[in-house]
């Protein structure tokens, strides 16, 4: 028996087991941890499928950031958990929900199994035209050149998510600082890590962004790393989250989208179409968009984790 096949089989079984466990476990904190493990295992599966770009994103967003969001949500909801459990719907609605979820999963499985073999693909066209972008990484070429409009809308969606979180702010705290004030031992382990790790993390993030033009990497992975480093410093009490009323903060949040749109509209007179890049300038423009988007993504993701403002700005 092939060793690689054995490994893949074990990975699939493990992913399914963790998924079932995450759905069925009673304690929501444990479910949050299970979700993080699930994300990391899924990243391994993407590596095995040779989709390293997807693996990096899954590890950073699915395994890392989304899990932090989930765990923070459960901690926040803990006070009301008993009430929520007491209000758990009866067997009939739960059966219906299970039926609905199961039929969606079965439908998806049917669709995937019914795909023609080989599956329809645009990969040859991408390989044919990638030279015009000056990039070496086909994923980045698709995301920022051939299908740039999708990526632009994705960035806008992130900002909408943050606005949705901010709308939960109580009136008296509007414009204040998000999240609690973290008090930790200034000589403790967490403060030590928060001093030691961010320089390394920032270098790795810039590397991941830069290398994304030719190798797996890019703004999302790099932005998540930056967000994690910033959150670490905030949670260790070394720095404070800025009040959401600050103009520089709001500027940074929209910078990525603004640069993207500006370059996109500049393409109308210069290259003949919205989001078209003038010949020979594709790569520098794409790197500029990626750099600006990385900063916006980092701030947006970190502020999503921190949540709505909880205290007034005592400036």
């Amino acid at each position: 028996m092939n060793l690689a096949l054995l490994f893949d089989g074990m990975l699939v079984v493990l992913i399914l087991a963790v998924a079932v466990w995450t759905v069925t476990v009673r304690d929501s904190f444990a479910a949050g941890i299970g979700y993080a493990v699930y994300g990391l295992l899924l990243a391994l599966a993407w590596v095995r499928l040779a989709a390293v770009d997807a693996a990096l994103t899954e590890a950073a967003i699915g395994g890392g950031l989304t899990s932090v969001l989930m765990i923070r949500a459960t901690v926040r909801l803990r006070a009301g958990e008993a009430a929520a459990r007491a209000a758990t719907p009866g067997p009939l609605p739960r059966l219906l929900a299970a039926l609905l979820g199961g039929s969606v999963a079965a439908g998806l499985a049917l669709v995937v199994l019914a795909l023609p073999d080989p599956a329809p693909t645009l990969a040859p066209q991408v390989a044919e035209h990638i030279a015009t972008t000056g990039l070496g990484n086909a994923v980045t070429a698709v995301l920022l050149s051939f299908r740039a409009i999708d990526t632009l809308l994705e960035a806008v969606v992130l900002i909408y998510a943050l606005i949705a979180v901010w709308t939960l702010t109580p009136d008296r705290f509007w414009g204040g600082r998000p999240g609690p004030k973290y008090e930790t031992d200034p000589n403790g382990m967490l403060a030590y890590l928060a001093r030691l790790l961010p320089p390394i993390g920032i270098v790795v993030a810039v590397y991941v962004l830069w290398v994304g033009a030719d190798l797996p990497g890019g703004k999302f992975q790099a932005g998540t790393l930056l967000a994690a480093m910033w959150l670490l410093a905030i949670m260790a009490g070394l720095t404070e989250a800025p009040p959401i009323s600050r103009r520089w903060l709001r500027g940074v949040l929209v910078a990525g989208t603004v640069v993207f749109l500006a370059i996109g509209f500049a393409g109308v007179p210069l290259a003949g179409a919205f989001l078209a890049y003038p010949e020979g300038f594709a790569k520098p423009l794409i790197v500029a968009i990626e750099a600006a988007s990385m900063l916006s993504i980092a701030f947006t993701l970190a502020l999503l984790v921190l949540g709505p403002p909880e205290r007034r700005d005592q400036a």
Binding site: L190, L193, L196, L197, I200
Partner: protein, 97 residues
Amino acid sequence: MSQLLDLWTVLAVGAGVFFFFAGTVGLLRFPDTLTRLHALTKADNLGLGLVVLGLLPRVGSPLAGLKLICVWLLVLLASATASQLIARVARRAGPPA
């Protein structure tokens, strides 16, 4: 020479796997949080370190080897911090009944 390196890889990775195995058994069998943490850190520190040492002769370039060592050092840092934090919470919560 290459056979010697192969032997080294097999020995070191084998020892690393042993520490991971022992750490996992400890995690499952030990009675309370602190001893379980103790078992887990052995797997992280020694197990991963030995696996990395064993793989070093197999890397294609010195840069790849450096990356492997960096991964080990970063995991050391992260696991040491995480186990400290977990241990502090466990101690504050008091001994298990």
